[in-house]
Amino acid sequence: MAAHLSYGRVNLNILREAARKELREFLDKCAGSKAIVWDEYLTGPFGLIAQYSLLKEHEVEKMFTLKSGRLPSADVKNIIFFVRPRLELMDIIAENVFRSDKMHSPRDFHILFVPRRSMLCEQRLKEQGVLASFINIDEYILDLIPYDGDLLSMEYESAFRECYLENDQTSLYHTAKGLMTLQALYGTIPQIYGKGECARHVANMMLRMKREFAGSQNQILPVFDTLLLLDRNVDLLTPLATQLTYEGLIDEIYGITNGYVKLPPEKFAQKKQGEASKDLPTEPKKLQLNSAEELYAEIRDKNFNAVGAALSKKAKIISAAFEERHNAKTVGEIKQFVSQLPHMQAARSSLANHTSIAELIKDITTSEAFFDNLTVEQEFMTGVDTDKVNTYIEDCVAQKDPLIKILRLVSMQSVCNNGLKQKVLDYYKREILQTYGYEHILTLNNLEKAGLLKLQSSSRNNYPTIRKTLKLWMEDANEQNPNDISYVYSGYAPLSVRLTQVLARPGWRSIEEVLKMLPGPHFEERQQLPAGLHKKRQQGENRTTLVFFLGGVSYAEIAALRFLSQMEDSGMEYIIATTKLLNVPPARTPAHIKDSMHPSEDRQLLFV
């Protein structure tokens, strides 16, 4: 089921198995038949840990979504609520419990908090007078969820917002906890590097937690050599740029959630021969995307411009394989051919799917709107005219393009200019408020708090220095056969990944100046290993670094890190962890997803 998790350098299946074991143990605590009431947000992440079959083996007979009102009837002994510790959910649970059918055979209620119990929530249940109704109140520590062989995410949706806007560092506490769990399974990580305020906090908490556990020494041979903690606000530019890898574009246009994407169904209609295609499917096509699919693993991280060639090459291989049947003469040969058929058919249907997706994406990437937008982004990233009002942005506002697109561009201009001049900033703000509504004073204020939008202080613009020192812009990015990470944005090398690359070689000492220009402290810590656990490295053996993005990571950044892992002379393999896989609100690119927008975006059209 999850074999792809164990193919990588670090067997992340161990983590998944540990999570499954704990889940089974909890389920067995509630003896007898069960129904699970799900906080809907959790079903996605849980799906990556356990399928329904596991739950069924432990007598889970029904599953419901948590909703206010009365619980649907279920003839089970136990009702288990799987919820995040949020106050508003407690009120719903209380209502459910109150209105549950008392006439029926008595049922046992349980709560499983994910990832942690909360005093406030239990207090809330007490206030509502239902706390005593629960037989088990437990927590399920699901901090880091394995998404792929080299990718872990906490799927903590609001970490960036909480850390930078609300000054709430609860997510960092969970991060530190998650890293402790990871170390318990994969050994103490001897070296910790970090850049940014949040990174510093997490490292401090980890070291403190380690002191608190001082009694028991971790006897596992360390799998990771280095941990690199990076604050998202050290590199705000990267997530603002349009990702140009295959997976990145799928996310930009359709949004990937919990490893799934929903696509418009028309392209995937099965046309059988002789059948008129009269009833087109109306449900969106849902596809799982991960490295378990051979073809996807091959193309996901390519620049989109190289995907077409890869697909047609694959098509040739597959049709050649099918042609083999004419050569199969003997019974043995035919038998062998037949045994390969399922694999070949899977490959063919995978090819068909990705060809369709690539076509959908191509419609957009070849559009004028996409090109214009990209041109402006690249101008900003190369430092062209970042200090004056941009006419393209102006035109986009006049056309009422989705607000998110405008905000991304203006923020990018601000970041690439180390803040905007008062006049320019005021102009953009006024345009945005007048066109999208004054209540967006709050939106703009949040952007300013997060540093995405700012007023240029008297000091000079240091972005060009950062760009040159870190080689953030590569003029001749090779999209087909890349030799540098800049291929993921067709020229722009993500700052975060450059920092990671430089850390491995030649080391951060070479870029002290630039590190000082970026926000927050940079630091190095060492964790003592018990004698005997020091790795004896084979010659030529790669080192392993866990890169942890605090506040989210984009798919293009993941692609760039994978590229570094694969580079022959890099000597380093990267495992990626994050508080959240950054989702691009599916609104930025052209108009075809307009209906998912906030209604205000299209209000002008409403009138006539």
Binding site: E88, D168, L433, Q434, I441, N445
Partner: protein, 426 residues
């Protein structure tokens, strides 16, 4: 008011929690001094101009004499309810135990210093869940709590976040009232409350009340504009709704309004007014010119919006008039704050016919761009004339092939090609 009182009685009698008491034990006396002072300094939680008897009083024997804010006490007592057993944990240990989800007693942290110490430990643990718990406990001294919170921005944000999440609007607004206005972000936080007010008149009044808040100079202009806009929308909505129902104004019959104008952005409002109230004099609230003046809209914004609205109505003379300016010789010529390419774009989006489009395509300066646009919008005359001006015989020949046999365009091209006066470049 009486009902209020009765409710309180009810509460104090029925509550299963023991009421809040200050045990006047001697050994604790000195430590409690500060707390006492603090409690004595509590101002009423209600407005000062409220009735005397409504003011909250706490007698030193511990019995609240009457409270307008049972909620606060309720919250406090609820925390006391956590007292599963009495223990001797230090603040640091207590925070750790709370983080591990174990039972703790906060009762021991009785003096203000102790409570604040606990809070500071909780803050340093970075766990929001734990930070909010001691805060609750402190809420018996609202004013002290508020004062202490201003020095503890992290704890303050947690508490505001908690109140927002638990939808305790009343407590939140109380808290906001107590905080010094200089607290960063406070005016905006208060302004944000308007989003929860559905009734437009109440919302307008609320926005008006926000005008006196100490926003930054820029924000203060925006908030004022927001208020002015809503005030105006309410008037326009009432007048137009009336006119529409009256059935006397043709425009509303021909193009019934599909949505209310209330709470729409400014530009949308301008569009609406350009659509329904274009010719009104500057004196009315719904006059586009008045809106332009009041909100200091740039020429470009006004122009684009008016253009789109009039084009939608197919009021081509109005569209034409937007561009007309006279030079000093009295000749009229077309001028636009927008590139003519964008003008064509806007007109095309509003399905302007080719005859209208070609007037504006012809005004595009760049020959190549003009040809591209003309081809896109099938303005054949412009394509042909431009090729003629460029003396490009090859292109003309090519274009002729695309024209229908026997069409006027084909004839025109033939005439040009046969014209011996033109010196073709190819």
């Amino acid at each position: 008011m009486m009902k209020n009182k009765a409710d309180e009685e009810d509460y104090w009698n029925s509550s299963k929690f023991k009421a809040f008491t200050f045990d006047d034990e001697d050994d604790e006396f000195s430590r409690l001094k500060e707390s006492k002072r603090a409690v004595n300094s509590i101002r009423p939680l209600v407005d000062e101009d409220d009735d005397e008897e409504e003011v909250e009083k706490v007698s030193w024997s511990g019995e609240p004499v009457g409270s307008k804010t049972p909620l606060l006490f309720n919250t406090y007592c609820a925390v006391i309810g956590w007292r599963d057993y009495v223990s001797d944990w230090s603040p640091e240990e207590t925070v750790q135990r709370m983080q591990q989800g174990k039972a703790v007693s906060l009762e021991k942290f009785r003096s203000l210093q102790d409570k604040l110490l606990l809070l500071d430990y909780a803050v340093s643990a970075h766990d929001g869940n734990v930070i909010t718990a001691p805060l609750w406990d402190l809420f018996v001294f609202p004013e002290v709590l508020f004062r202490e919170l201003t020095d503890r921005q992290t704890a303050l944000r947690h508490f505001i976040h908690y109140l927002t999440e638990s939808k305790d609007q009343r407590l939140l607004l109380e808290l906001l009232r107590y905080l010094p206005l200089s607290t960063p972000g406070l005016p905006l936080l208060q302004y944000k409350e308007h989003l929860g007010i559905a009734d437009e008149n109440k919302r307008r009044d609320f926005l008006k009340s926000c005008l006196s808040l100490p926003f930054s100079p820029e924000d203060s202009v925006h908030v004022e504009d927001h208020y002015t806009l809503l005030e105006r929308q309410i008037i326009i909505e009432a007048t137009d709704g009336h006119a529409e129902r009256g059935g006397k104004q043709e425009i509303f019959q021909k193009f019934p309004r599909k949505a209310s104008i209330l709470n729409m952005p400014l530009i949308t409002t301008l569009y609406y007014c350009c659509f329904y109230h274009y010719t009104e004099s500057e004196g009315t609230y719904s006059s586009p010119l008045n809106i332009r003046q009041t909100f200091k809209l740039s020429e470009k914004q006004f122009f684009v919006t008016a253009l789109a609205a009039r084009a939608k109505l197919k009021a081509w003379p109005d569209v034409d008039a937007l561009f007309t300016s006279r030079n000093w010789l009295g000749f009229t010529r077309k001028k636009s704050p927008l590139s003519f390419q964008r003008v064509v774009d806007v007109l095309h989006k509003n399905s302007a016919p080719t005859q209208v489009l070609q007037d504006y395509v012809a005004l595009v300066d760049d020959a190549e761009l003009r040809i591209t646009l003309a081809q896109k919008h099938k303005c054949h005359d412009i394509v042909i004339n431009t090729y003629r001006d460029l003396k490009d015989r090859q292109q003309l020949l090519g274009y002729r092939a695309k024209m229908a046999r026997g069409s006027a365009e084909e004839r025109k091209i033939n005439e040009l090609l046969n014209n011996s006066q033109i010196r073709w470049k190819n």
